[in-house]
Subunit: 321 residues, 2 copies
């Protein structure tokens, strides 16, 4: 594959497509976008650094997917409709096959969500991917993390812990039976829960995506809302490979493992049926894993109702009262 001749050739070859929704896309000093009448803008940025967020040598197509997926997950956690994104990219070299695979992975996910790349930057440097996403939502309908209320039920989508289980296998921390492409994809090609976030508008109170670990992210939500929670740790759904682990490892992956990009959300108890209908409409499994209390702090119980006092890694960030 012939190599790009310079920055502008690189942008033209791999990152420029005709503008669709945008008034003006890639190629000017700024992109121009026309928000819908009465719509609010949701905006977030995530940076992925080689050696920190992904291994050197990671499949570039998977990386293109993941770099955009982690940003779409922030929109999902707000209940926003994805709209457009910008990519700032530092690369050690302009390698044509890497760029072709990376952009293919990124655009495949972008197309699946009907959004377009409208701008960004390309520069030489240690590999670093910074994506900014823009979404829209009707004013007042965002799923904010400060909106949990005592009495709410606590829900999670999917099977959190899979990404951590796959990471441990790839790092050589453990060797598990049944490690396959599907489990690896949970780490390398996470599914942003955009459809669920949209379906939960007007149903859920608060939401956050699980990026740093379930308990750590729950801690952010509880502190922002000024409430506490009780979590039934055995109610957290486990995938088959996770269910097959020793319970200490399973719980550690489920409670403290990051990179899942599942949605953790609260909804009033009387909205239980509406939550299940939203999950069904979004074709995304959800489970009720606890409840929100007025008393600050986080209480963990097993299926027998016994209190757990283990400390989980990401839980350290959460100060007990």
């Amino acid at each position: 594959m012939d190599q790009p001749s310079g920055e502008f050739d690189l942008i033209a070859r791999y990152f420029t497509r005709p503008a669709r929704g945008a008034v003006l896309g890639v190629g000017d000093d700024c992109a121009l976008l026309a928000p819908g009448a009465g719509m609010q803008l949701a905006v977030a940025a995530d940076m992925l650094v080689e050696g920190r967020h992904f291994f050197a040598g990671t499949d570039p197509q998977a990386l293109g997917h993941k770099a955009l997926a982690v940003n779409l997950s922030d929109l999902a956690a707000m209940g926003a409709q994805p709209w457009a994104f910008l990519l700032a990219l530092a690369l050690p070299d302009a390698d044509a096959s890497w760029l072709a695979a990376f952009s293919a992975g990124m655009f495949a996910l972008a197309d699946a969500h009907g959004i377009e790349l409208v701008g960004g930057d390309t520069t030489r440097g240690p590999r670093n991917l910074c994506i900014t996403v823009l979404g829209q939502l009707p004013a007042g309908q965002a799923l904010r993390r400060d909106a949990a209320r005592a009495g709410d039920q606590l829900w999670v989508s999917g099977t959190p812990g899979d990404a951590r289980l796959a990471l441990g296998q790839l790092r050589g921390e453990w060797r598990i039976a049944g490690f396959d492409a599907a489990l690896r994809a949970r780490l390398e090609r996470p599914t942003p829960r955009v459809a669920l976030g949209l379906a939960l508008r007007g149903v859920a109170h608060a939401a956050i995506d699980v990026s740093d670990g379930l308990l750590g992210d729950l801690g952010h939500l509880l502190r922002a809302s000024g409430v506490g929670a009780e979590v039934d740790v055995d109610a957290i759904p486990a995938s088959a490979p996770l269910a097959a682990q020793p319970s200490a490892r399973r719980r550690d992956c489920q409670l403290a493992g990051g990179d899942d990009y599942e949605l953790l959300f609260t909804a009033p108890a009387d909205a239980r049926d509406a939550v299940l209908r939203a999950a069904d409409a979004a074709a995304t499994p959800v489970a009720c894993i606890g409840r929100i209390d007025a008393a600050p702090g986080l209480r963990l119980r097993d299926a027998a109702g016994a209190a757990l006092h283990d400390t989980y890694a990401s839980f350290d960030h959460f100060r007990r009262p």
Copy 2:
């Protein structure tokens, strides 16, 4: 100065201030912003990499200023009103004094433009600053780079070339008389020409900011607009230190030097007085340095009207017809 205890402490200490214009600022999955009725959104991202865009050991306060300034310059070149920004930051360590100075430099410029930090990301890694800016402007009023027309006059703000002159001094390429803090600031603390961009709405046709070098950036504008230009190279205003250089070095700095963040723009000849009034209102000097022709390509002339045939570094990116 005591060091931040972790990512969230770092964000709270140096990068969280109460939301002002934003519906929701730093601290949730996304920031929420409410665009004005009938307004379009202008958005751009720039990434600065240590060792490439700035020296290791650069004054962090100046760096905080510059990281935001280069982004504001993109809004200026579009004629957009700055609104908000996001910062994604990779740092080798969480050094309190570096962070305090960096954030002070960044927020001083943000405050001068009445804009606020609404989100971003913080991670460990080789030092890398990625800022995304958002601006607003009335629909249809953007100063696009594809809007130059044959017969337009070509204008530039300020004294381009100063940043390259200062860079050469700091790199040891030359030692110049009169190197002082003011000249160094032209490289390290560029002034985004936001007020000029706003004043030129409805007056200028096309605009671009000079980041890669005057001729290189002019080339982008000409190609986008499908026109050519004649530039009177001796009409480009020079600062006192630049005017004191041998003419070959002066021209090289003026025509090929990057990092100036001046505005290069075109306006109809009969808008000459309106351009001068806009510059006056924005307290920003401007000079007419040439004209736009229907014939593609770029023709350089000196004060005597003689054609110049030198090739300037950034000019290589521009394909002659």
